[in-house]
Symmetry: none
Subunit: 408 residues, 2 copies
Amino acid sequence: MRIECIAIGTELLTTRRLDTNSVWLGERLADLGLAFHRKTAVGDNREDLAGLIREALTRSDLILTTGGLGPTFDDFTKELFAEALGVALVEDAGARADMLAFYTARNRTPAQSNFKQVLIPVGAEPLRNPVGTAPGVWWQDPPGHPGARIVMMPGVPREMKRMWEDQVEPRLQPLAGEPTQTLRMVVAGVPESTLDERTRDVRERHGQLEWTILASLTQVELLVRAHDSATLAQVLTDMRPVLGHDLVSVGPGNLEEAVLTGLESRGQTLAVAESMTGGLLSARLTAIPGASRSFLGGATVYSPAAKTALLGLPASLLADQGTVSEATTHALAVATRQALGATWGLAVTGNAGPATEGTEPVGTVYISVDGPRGASTIRRNIPGDRPDVQLRGVAAALNFLRRQLDLA
Amino acid sequence: MRIECIAIGTELLTTRRLDTNSVWLGERLADLGLAFHRKTAVGDNREDLAGLIREALTRSDLILTTGGLGPTFDDFTKELFAEALGVALVEDAGARADMLAFYTARNRTPAQSNFKQVLIPVGAEPLRNPVGTAPGVWWQDPPGHPGARIVMMPGVPREMKRMWEDQVEPRLQPLAGEPTQTLRMVVAGVPESTLDERTRDVRERHGQLEWTILASLTQVELLVRAHDSATLAQVLTDMRPVLGHDLVSVGPGNLEEAVLTGLESRGQTLAVAESMTGGLLSARLTAIPGASRSFLGGATVYSPAAKTALLGLPASLLADQGTVSEATTHALAVATRQALGATWGLAVTGNAGPATEGTEPVGTVYISVDGPRGASTIRRNIPGDRPDVQLRGVAAALNFLRRQLDLA
């Protein structure tokens, strides 16, 4: 079966916008034992998209598109497929009712342009969009292409994913190949190149499997696919001694979830004090559902005044030691822990740049944890520009706390 | 001129690997006043790549490829272009010398397979690779395609970028288009479909220009390109009355920057109190360089205990009014403003889900601003799942503050 993906949107060609949808879809296809033969990004240009649609219809059995289903003048995916296949678009009563219900639930009135969204090619079937206004399209055996399937989904990742999971994947199940399973290992505190070297022997021992290393600013994921779970269990057994305490978790989840799970399983709580990371540490934790079971909150002490007003740090300490210092960071961790009555206090100060203010160079980060066994502080030099230093600082702080949890 | 990009590599189709090369190339083309008409990713599969090469030769004037230049069995980009154009590959003496020098400098001996890399199609020109072993190819006026240009570059981003900067971009300079300018208008508090309708007349009046609407959870961008600044100035003049106070900024920047700029230009400061947004509001502000000039910090009062401990809210208020309520949100805004001695206090409470805790439904958000003219509180029902409600809540809070700044 030949499968292709068409991502529609001028922003995918001209601005710094990555087509993450097709990557996600590639993963989901792999779960079904299927794979793309090609992926194309094309702009919101009638002629270009029309040409691509004609080509795709001649060469592919399954065409997945994202984007171009919206209400605006530059949305014409359905229209061009209908044209290429010589059928009309008609209003779908169910899609219209869904769209009206979406607006009614929000006490809003649809714009005239929204009604364009509920037009569906004759012979095709609308796919409901429970989280947006643009329905998708499932089109099996379109005119002149028996056996072919066309799936049009919105470009908004959240809407596309929901539609795929609820409606597209079930319809594709009969086509699924031999299913594969993925073992996902999350590692923190190790650069990608080091992890690559450290795991080489184990990867070569299991060289018949498909391996992937995915590095982000906060963690590195090591993914391996196999057809049976016994093989993956053996891989994990071989990998554990190599990864040691840098292995954060196995399966879904990330560093933040590992920290929250670690706290919750111990019945412990966390309070933070953030200077350089400016709220990002808290934001990453509170992005996880259920964070409130162990995360109490904290202070974003972005100014010296906030350090004194919210956490009672003596102005003399800040004057003597500086706001970016071991002593100040330690005092912040102790103070936030005490103020909130938490098991653990975690504080981060530093200089994320771009301008060098104060005496510490850009990239300097202090992290302090105060807990049942007292306080520990580390200093790190973190490379990168401002957003990198902030996010890597958050990861370093979370990973330091994670290690302290294990030791306590 | 029709330009397309072909990214070659099975990993681009099957794993969570983003094709960042083509995004980078799209940016570089824009600098030259050029743009891709399409971008395709294809696997290391002879038949698929050969088909794509034949198609591309029929429709494009400039073809940029990345990948498939290495020494292994699944590298055949040059071979397939040569086949499609009916010419042979021959060893290039300069490329061979470069490759040998690369290995000698590293005290290594090339493998036999490396010699495959120095084969170049007859009539094409090698592009040196100072940071790797795979030379690229520049092929102008290939047989049967006068005026066309084919550029083959390595898939390793560092090698590709270096080759582009040193050798490809200079060769493309004569083709550079008339540079275009972009007018970027950032709008907040208006759904994409409403903005589309409201701006339709003005866009139609300037219908010869290239328009793009980019919606995110926090703002909508309206982009328009033209060759001269007088046209864009007229567009802006026409657009201002239509956008009114929903126009956040013109040019680079976003809602957060507009708020910080608004504060700084007035010599004012901000303190926040975040419950539902859990640090995200602060994180978005402190992502902006120089945020410390007007953002003092605040409290992430994710638990009731934090609301009392950090900002002194009476436990009785929380018990009587609830943590998600107009009275509590108002008290938080007043308290954080007072604690930090800020011009403005901004507080957000709400329920982001997924579980419904307390009496307020998921999506309920209260936003309160306390400032020189007293406090105002709004209640919003925000659609979406947890991350959406949090981020949209941040945007609603920032936009509410922005409007208050204007009124004060």
